[in-house]
């Protein structure tokens, strides 16, 4: 087995792709708190994810998603959901930004595990340009849905 393959498919990724944390039924309008929804598609392979965010009042954001895709995209959505359970909204934005930067580093960056947690396991993906989109799909959906949830909260606040 080549070292690159082992770097790409770290055990964390293989485990998380099967765990699929956060993979659950979407609640849509049934949730009380400010919420957002995003649907992202990877047109090269047809993979897709639907992701919901809900601001839960304790400074956290709950994430629910459903989708079908490769191990990288499923593991990425799973790690994202896990991190959302452990971090504040502000911290999630810092992680999102660091993850985005890592994915576009073409393998030149050292992943900062203290910021990224399990998401640091994806550092090998950045050496495979064809797979960066797989890792970013759920994060793009997260950012989009979170923006909507925050906008909804603002609206409620001003109403």
């Amino acid at each position: 087995m080549s070292t690159q393959m082992q770097q790409l498919y770290q055990q964390v990724i293989l485990d998380q792709s099967r765990a699929r944390i956060g993979n659950s039924a979407l609640l849509g309008e049934k949730v009380d708190g400010p919420h957002g929804y995003s649907h992202q598609v990877n047109p090269t392979c047809g993979d897709e994810i639907e992701l919901e965010t809900e601001l839960t009042g304790n400074g956290r954001v709950a994430v629910r998603w459903r989708g079908d895709g490769c191990s990288i995209s499923m593991a990425s959505a799973s790690v994202l959901s896990e991190l959302a359970g452990e971090n504040s909204v502000e911290e999630m934005l810092v992680i999102e930004s660091a993850f985005h930067e890592l994915m576009h580093s073409r393998g030149t960056m050292e992943a900062d595990e203290s910021v990224l947690g399990d998401a640091a396991a994806f550092s090998g993906v950045s050496k495979f340009p064809a797979r960066i989109k797989c890792a970013l799909l759920s994060w793009m959906a997260f950012k989009d849905a979170l923006n909507q949830a925050q906008a909804a909260r603002e609206e409620k606040h001003h109403a």
Partner: protein
């Protein structure tokens, strides 16, 4: 012969990491023999000039190279050289027909073009196994003209379901567009039966020949199709070049979509007369070096022999199918007996993208994704598949390397069951 000709393809010596290359993605694009690469280079070194204009020696040579390409292609697929129109790719060739019919439906092209005119009373028929290139343009044409879009479904064995052929292709059908060979399943469709039905109802036949012309003997005249499209790059030629083949009386009546220089007889400030085919579809400067190189590719294919290539790939396809059957957890999409050496499959528990990545780590190049055929994948209950496709330069060793790598995929991703 097939063992020897591998030496004609320099890219086969490339190494992927530490592994030799087993290129099983010719369904997407073929590799090029040195003679094709040489023709391309020599054109720019020795013959480059504008075609169909200028009286100088180089212009004559360039024009010869360009027109000889048509002669070569007509020799390959039948018909006369003027039945061969150059396009950017096969997708453009199919769009030229669909958009030409759209223009005819709007009154362009005068009396002669009215034979193509479509309206809400008419239907267009395609199939569920089409590449998006032979699907989306017809969907667009239906939306634009109000014509109804219908399709022949696909059976579990990956063949066209002919049960309702007579009610799907009926008196309202004006266009029947289908693929000769499925780019995913490798199934060879019964063109004779489909053309016969089109003739009964007076529909025009448009054949997507992208996956047939490079891999088997094809005679458009014998098949009696009205229009056909294929690309050079899948048949040892360069990218940037496609072929629209048609019956002369139909090509000459079809309104052109791209207009401008090189395709006119006379232009005044208020109107323009177009040339007959093929020039009427070749507006602007043409890909001359590509045509010259493709002529060399066609010569190469003829020298090896399309019958021989077909038999060689059939044998490789057999090796792939037999080998895959031995590996647990792999489902091949389609099982048509009439097929080329293309095999698409689903690996239980492992996404196609991951399968392709794993095979690549061992130097095996395959295609992953929906292969521009989303409805067909949906028909088989998957969003993506992995496809191995062969060509004349592949050998049994490529198949062996593919199969032994494939056998490791499910264990690597931890989805193989105990005892497998």
């Amino acid at each position: 012969m097939f063992a020897r000709l591998r030496g004609d393809f320099p890219i086969l010596d490339v190494r992927i990491g530490e592994s030799p290359l087993s290129y099983l993605d010719s369904g997407a694009t073929s590799q090029k023999p040195q003679c094709v690469i040489d023709t391309f280079t020599e054109y720019f070194q020795q013959r480059n000039s504008a075609v169909h204009r200028g009286a100088h020696s180089l212009a004559v040579e360039a024009t010869d190279a360009f027109e000889n390409g048509r002669i070569a292609v007509a020799g390959l697929v039948g018909g006369k050289p003027e039945q061969v129109c150059w396009t950017k790719n096969a997708t453009e060739a199919l769009n030229v027909v669909a958009l030409g019919i759209d223009r005819a439906s709007r009154g362009f092209g005068g009396e002669a073009a009215q034979r193509f005119a479509l309206g809400p009373e008419d239907s267009i028929v395609i199939t569920e196994m089409e590449h998006h290139a032979n699907l989306v343009p017809w969907q667009q044409l239906a939306a634009s003209t109000g014509a109804q879009l219908r399709w022949l479904p696909v059976t579990d064995s990956g063949e066209l379901d002919m049960t309702d052929l007579e009610s799907i292709v009926d008196e309202t059908t004006k266009v029947f567009a289908f693929t000769h060979v499925s780019n995913v399943l490798g199934t060879i469709n019964p063109v004779d039966t489909l053309v016969a039905r089109a003739r009964e109802v007076g529909a025009y036949v448009v054949l997507d020949a992208c996956q047939s012309v490079p891999h088997m003997p094809v005679d458009f005249v014998g098949l009696d199709v009205d229009f056909a499209a294929f690309s050079a790059h899948k048949a040892l030629g360069p990218t940037g070049l496609g072929v629209l083949w048609g019956k002369s009386e139909l090509l000459d009546a079809l309104p052109p979509v791209l207009t401008g220089g090189s395709m006119i007889t006379t232009v005044s400030m208020d109107q323009t007369e177009f040339m007959p085919a093929p020039q009427r579809f070749e507006a602007g400067t043409q890909p001359v070096a590509e045509v010259a190189a493709f002529a060399t590719a066609v010569g190469y294919l003829a020298e090896v022999g399309l019958e021989e290539i077909f038999a060689h790939e059939r044998e490789l396809g057999r090796l792939l199918l037999d080998g895959i059957a031995e590996i647990p957890g792999i489902r091949v999409l389609g099982s048509a007996p009439e097929r080329i050496g293309t095999v698409a499959f689903d690996v239980d528990g492992v996404h196609a993208h991951d399968v392709g990545q794993f095979l690549d780590s061992q130097g095996v190049a395959v295609r992953v994704g929906h292969h521009c055929a989303q409805p067909l994948h949906r028909r088989f209950g998957v969003t993506a598949s992995t496809r191995a496709s062969t060509y004349l330069y592949n050998n049994a060793e490529d198949c062996d390397r593919f199969l032994s790598a494939l056998a490791e995929v499910r264990p690597f991703f931890g989805v193989a069951q105990e005892g497998e």
